[in-house]
């Protein structure tokens, strides 16, 4: 259940990132907006410029043409109040009639902070008086009491930051509350889907925000369970069928083998007839091997062969196989040479002894079956990098590169899920492969250094 915390982390990350981006964006927009407003358009600056521009010509105050035109364009009026008389001594044309012509000190204070008759006013200091610009009504909004507590200005950065933090916390809390409900209903669904992949039978509560999904998951689980039951049933049937057939063949084959075996040694028969009996024995032996192989292969394929792995000295196990073959007195055409280094006396692996013996027997039998003219068979166990390797090779006819490639890489007809018409080969190697795979080992088929066929079986060593 690693996905839920991951999901939460991802959501929180996205949320924090988006709030930050929003704040930065807003701040940037505000800056751009105010910057666009400010340059030269500040009426305070204009007022000061007018004051500077106003010059006394004899007894008349005169404004330069440019500045006058500028004021006119913006529909701004201006007056000049003399310091001494407190009276208007100069004015622009079109001065509204409601503008008084003389001022008291309190009037000056008031117009500096605010308005004259609704006209927002701005002042500029000249040599002998005060220039007052009056902008059209509703063109500016003036803050009449522009003063703040000193401390609040000093603490402004702190205040802004804490407000920001409170905002973020609030957003976070809202988010968590809103999502915990969703996550709560997601959690069993995620669990259910994970359980599905492990082929467990599951039933999750069909309630909450995602109940529809839950219903579907339950349904899927039911279908999967039914399917695997069905599959198991079919596999069991197939395994039983093969076991049954091979059982029924064993008794009649006993008779064939038994009597042929007797005839083979019957000295009253002619050499020729005894030879025929030998062929019958050999062929029934092959049938016997085939039955054994078929049964085991089908069980291994459908995991119905119980594996009982134990710590074994692989060298002892393989040595027994080789000795059994020699004791069985196989045809003189075949010799088996034990090539294991005498210094290597033990190679411990965790294997099912009987299956392992079966695998190596199959390899030796394989060499015998494919070399009717006879061959030398070489068996060796070696240890390399914590891996035990059993090498069975021969100096017989061997196989072509193509055949070896095929044996290594294409599935056997018995486990192939496509229709196949290729020339069928025996089950011997398939069983070896199945057994080695069941023990987490590897099987490699290649050319033998003696010119024939070689199979290497690698098994992980147990300490």
């Amino acid at each position: 259940m690693k996905s839920i915390p991951k999901l939460i982390r991802r959501f929180v990350g996205i949320m924090l990132l988006s709030s930050m981006l929003l704040i930065i964006l807003n701040f940037a927009l505000l800056c751009i907006y105010t910057l666009n407003q400010a340059p030269n358009s500040s009426p305070w600056i204009t007022a000061q410029e007018v004051a500077d521009d106003l010059s006394k010509n004899e007894n008349e105050y005169v404004l330069s043409e440019d500045t006058a035109l500028e004021l006119q364009n913006e529909n701004v009026w201006a007056i000049f109040i003399d310091n001494r008389t407190m009276e208007v001594v100069w004015q622009t044309d079109h001065l509204p009639e409601t503008v008084p012509m003389s001022y008291t000190v309190s009037d000056i204070a008031s117009l500096t902070r605010g308005y004259i008759d609704g006209y927002p006013t701005f002042t500029g200091e000249a040599e002998n008086g005060l220039v007052v610009l009056g902008y059209p009504k509703d063109s500016f909004w003036k803050h009449m009491w522009p003063s703040w507590d000193y401390n609040s200005i000093v603490n402004l950065p702190k205040t802004v930051l804490s407000v920001l933090a409170i905002n973020l916390a609030l957003i976070f809390i809202i988010y968590v509350i809103a999502n915990s409900k969703l996550l709560k209903s997601v959690k069993p669904i995620v669990g259910g889907i994970q359980a599905l992949s492990t082929d467990e039978e599951i039933h999750i509560r069909e309630k909450g925000l995602l109940s529809e999904l839950a219903v579907n998951i339950n349904k899927t689980s039911d279908i999967l369970q039914a399917q695997s039951r069905q599959l198991r049933k079919r596999e069991t049937a197939r395994t039983n069928w093969i076991a049954g057939v091979s059982h029924d063949i064993r008794t009649p084959l006993s008779m064939v083998m038994g009597y042929a075996g007797q005839l083979e040694n019957d000295m009253q028969l002619s050499e020729d007839n005894r030879q025929k009996a030998t062929v019958i024995v050999r062929q029934s032996k092959r049938m016997q091997n085939l039955i054994n192989d078929l049964n085991l292969a089908s069980k291994l394929e459908y995991n119905m062969q119980p594996l009982s792995p134990e710590r074994q000295n692989l060298i002892a196990v393989i040595r027994q196989v080789v000795v059994d073959f020699i004791n069985m007195n196989i045809d003189e055409k075949y010799t088996i040479e034990w090539q294991t280094d005498e210094a290597l006396t033990s190679c411990t692996v965790n294997v099912d002894k009987d299956l392992m013996k079966r695998a190596v027997s199959n390899l030796i039998q394989n060499s015998i079956n494919h070399n009717e003219q006879g061959c030398h068979i070489f068996v060796r166990v070696k240890a390399e990098n914590n891996v035990c390797i059993v090498v069975v090779s021969d100096d017989g006819v061997g196989a072509t590169d193509e055949q070896i490639e095929k044996l290594n890489n294409t599935p056997h007809y018995m486990v192939c899920d496509e229709k196949t018409t290729e020339q069928r080969h025996g089950l011997g190697l398939l069983i070896v492969k199945q057994i080695i795979f069941a023990h987490s080992g590897k099987m490699l088929i290649k050319h033998s250094e003696y010119g024939g066929f070689e199979v290497d079986l690698s098994l992980p060593m147990t300490m």
Binding site: R250, G258, G261, Q262, Q288, R319, Q339, T345
Partner: protein, 234 residues
């Protein structure tokens, strides 16, 4: 080696197929066994055994009115004698593993006559000691009862380990016994790392049984694999 007395043992053969009974009887007859009675069912087998008192039984596992395992238990109640199972089911392996049930050996059908005879003779040899227990080798004789070797009229005693090793070799006389099987026979279940001790014991056994221990003719080394005891007349 004379196993004549073994051929006289009374054998009970139980299988539900007449053809198989006929065949096994013929194989046994050919090898010299004379006293064989057959039965096709559990009840018949019990009846026959009452009067016949077999000394060895070969039983099929699947019988029409029961199975061979139950039959074995009932047969063994009256007398304890060796039993060999014949089975047509490879998967019975598990049941036989370790022969916890008291079976002496088992064979999966089909089988060759010589395989059957080898096992029957081996079981009988194990179960019924000869009146004359001397085992004849090329240059000496083994007396397992007294744990000694008789060479040139001289009696040389065997140590316990030497006795165990020789006994294991004799049980498989003429066949190779692996180093591991011999170590197990001498040192028990976990016989790792005894290879060198085994070689020392083999050397001492050779000194006792061979005329020329450096060129053995009775106890043969099969390089890397194991040893083989060659018994005269076998």
């Amino acid at each position: 080696m004379d196993f004549y007395y073994l051929k006289q043992k009374r054998i009970l053969l139980v299988d539900d197929k007449q053809e198989l009974l006929d065949m096994v009887v013929s194989i046994l007859n050919e090898d010299g066994f004379q006293n064989i009675k057959t039965a096709k069912t559990v009840s018949e087998a019990l009846t026959v055994s009452e009067t016949y008192q077999p000394e060895f039984a070969i039983l099929d596992v699947m019988l029409p009115d029961g199975n061979g395992f139950d039959l074995m238990e009932r047969l063994k109640k009256s007398a304890d004698y060796p039993i060999l199972f014949l089975t047509a089911r490879g998967e019975d392996d598990d049941k036989f593993r370790g022969f916890g049930l008291g079976a002496d050996d088992y064979m999966v059908k089909p089988f060759l006559p010589k395989e059957l005879l080898f096992r029957v003779n081996a079981i009988l040899r194990r179960s019924y000691k000869a009146e004359n227990p001397l085992v004849k080798l090329h240059d000496s004789e083994i007396d397992f009862e007294r744990a000694e070797i008789i060479k040139n009229g001289e009696h040389i005693s065997l140590t316990a380990k030497e006795h165990d090793i020789l006994a294991a070799l004799y049980r498989n006389a003429g066949r190779i016994v692996t180093i591991d099987a011999l170590c197990e026979a001498a040192w028990g279940d976990n016989p790792f790392g005894y290879e060198n001790s085994l070689m020392a014991h083999i050397r001492r056994i050779r000194e006792k049984i061979e005329a020329n221990p450096s060129q053995p003719v009775s106890l043969i080394t099969m390089k890397g694999l194991g040893y083989k005891l060659v018994v005269e007349g076998k």
